[in-house]
């Protein structure tokens, strides 16, 4: 049977990318800094986010979306820091996508917020393909995981903007080689910014707060305001 070729040249993620772009424009217009968190399950995303929200809440208006396959447990934990928390339960889906973010934002006044954090489903593979419209993607790696995790999951580390090594209070007990972890992160993402933190003791968190404060100070809306 004869066939003919029809050229498409269409990006598979077109729908998600378009939606993510629209979200990014909304975030920029509202002057809100959006940060997503990715990591394997159990790397301490929620504990880290609790500290972040708690640290920023006195001075800034913060909100969080948190993705999990099931339960509202993480949202309940995060609500201790701010009331603006919504859980996204994905059912069997292993990642968040732009459509889920858009739906979860329903009814929130974005311009009345300074920061929005999006905690992705614990997974180092699938979230890398989905743009959520965030300004920064943090990838977390805990001291109790192997130093070679970045080498095993190069795509997600490469697609992220900032690496955060968590549970540093346990580094010694876990014989975690932080220099090797840093080398491995830089191998998959040259010149990546790396932070070493402990959500438990609070060590290193000030540097992360500083990064976030600087981001807000340099957001397009503020630049616009200062030029007027």
């Amino acid at each position: 049977m004869s066939t003919r070729i029809v050229e498409l040249r269409a990006k598979v993620m077109k729908q998600n990318d378009l939606l993510a772009r629209a979200l990014r424009e909304r975030f920029e217009t509202a002057g809100i800094i959006v940060v997503s968190l990715v990591s394997s399950p159990g790397s301490g995303k929620t504990a880290f986010l609790e500290k972040i929200l708690g640290g920023l809440a006195p001075d800034f208006r913060v909100a969080a979306l948190v993705g999990d396959l099931a339960t509202e447990n993480d949202a309940a934990r995060l609500k201790r820091a701010t009331a603006n928390v919504r859980q996204i339960t994905t059912g069997t889906i292993c990642h968040l996508d732009a459509q889920m973010i858009e739906a979860a934002l329903e009814g929130w006044q974005l311009d009345s917020l300074d920061f929005l954090f999006i905690e992705n489903v614990g997974n180092l593979v699938c979230p890398s393909s989905y743009d959520l419209g965030e300004e920064l993607r943090f990838v977390l790696l805990s001291a109790t995981e192997g130093e070679d995790k970045p080498l095993k999951y190069p795509t997600i580390f490469n697609s992220s903007d900032v690496a955060v090594i968590t549970k540093m209070d346990m580094a010694e007990a876990a014989e975690f080689d932080v220099a090797a972890a840093r080398r491995n992160i830089e191998s998959v993402r040259p010149r990546m910014q790396i932070y070493e933190v402990s959500a438990k003791t609070g060590s290193g968190m000030q540097d992360v707060f500083q990064l976030l404060r600087n981001k807000l100070a340099h957001s397009p809306e503020d630049r616009l305001a200062s030029s007027n």
């Binding site: 049977m1 004869s2 066939t3 003919r4 070729i5 029809v6 050229e7 498409l8 040249r9 269409a10 990006k11 598979v12 993620m13 077109k14 729908q15 998600n16 889906i93 292993c94 990642h95 996508d97 593979v125 699938c126 890398s128 393909s129 989905y130 970045p150 080498l151 095993k152 190069p154 795509t155 997600i156 490469n158 697609s159 491995n184 830089e186 191998s187 998959v188 993402r189 040259p190 010149r191």
Partner: protein, 115 residues
């Protein structure tokens, strides 16, 4: 395993194009998948067969062109293939590079349809 979600996006794209262009039965779908796209070839084919069963795309074949990871070396001023997916540096001069030229593709290139 997000390949099923990816496959559903591909099926939507084909459905839209078929309707707009009034295409006959799609025999082959030509895809380009970068090794750094986060999508696994085997899982994608498995999900494809599962999703197409009993639909108008039943027995439609996926033809996947794998795109290698290429980085740009600012020192050599050349596009290079890094030593591995987890060593993003120039194989000649060892300079780390964050400039990815190709390898992230996830694209429906063309369809082969019954004439």
């Amino acid at each position: 395993m997000h390949e099923l979600s990816i496959v559903l996006s591909i099926i939507d794209e084909i459905g839209e194009e078929s309707e707009v262009r009034g295409l006959n039965k799609v025999e082959v779908v030509h895809l380009k998948i970068g090794v750094f796209s986060g999508v696994d070839r085997k899982a994608l084919i498995f999900a494809w067969e599962l999703a197409c069963e009993g639909t108008s795309l039943d027995h439609t074949r996926l033809d996947i062109e794998t795109v290698p990871l290429i980085i740009h070396c600012a020192v050599c001023r050349q596009d290079r293939t890094p030593p591995s997916l987890y060593q993003l540096c120039c194989p000649e001069c060892d300079t780390p590079s964050e400039t990815i030229v190709s390898g992230r593709e996830l694209e429906v290139v063309s369809l082969e349809v019954a004439a």
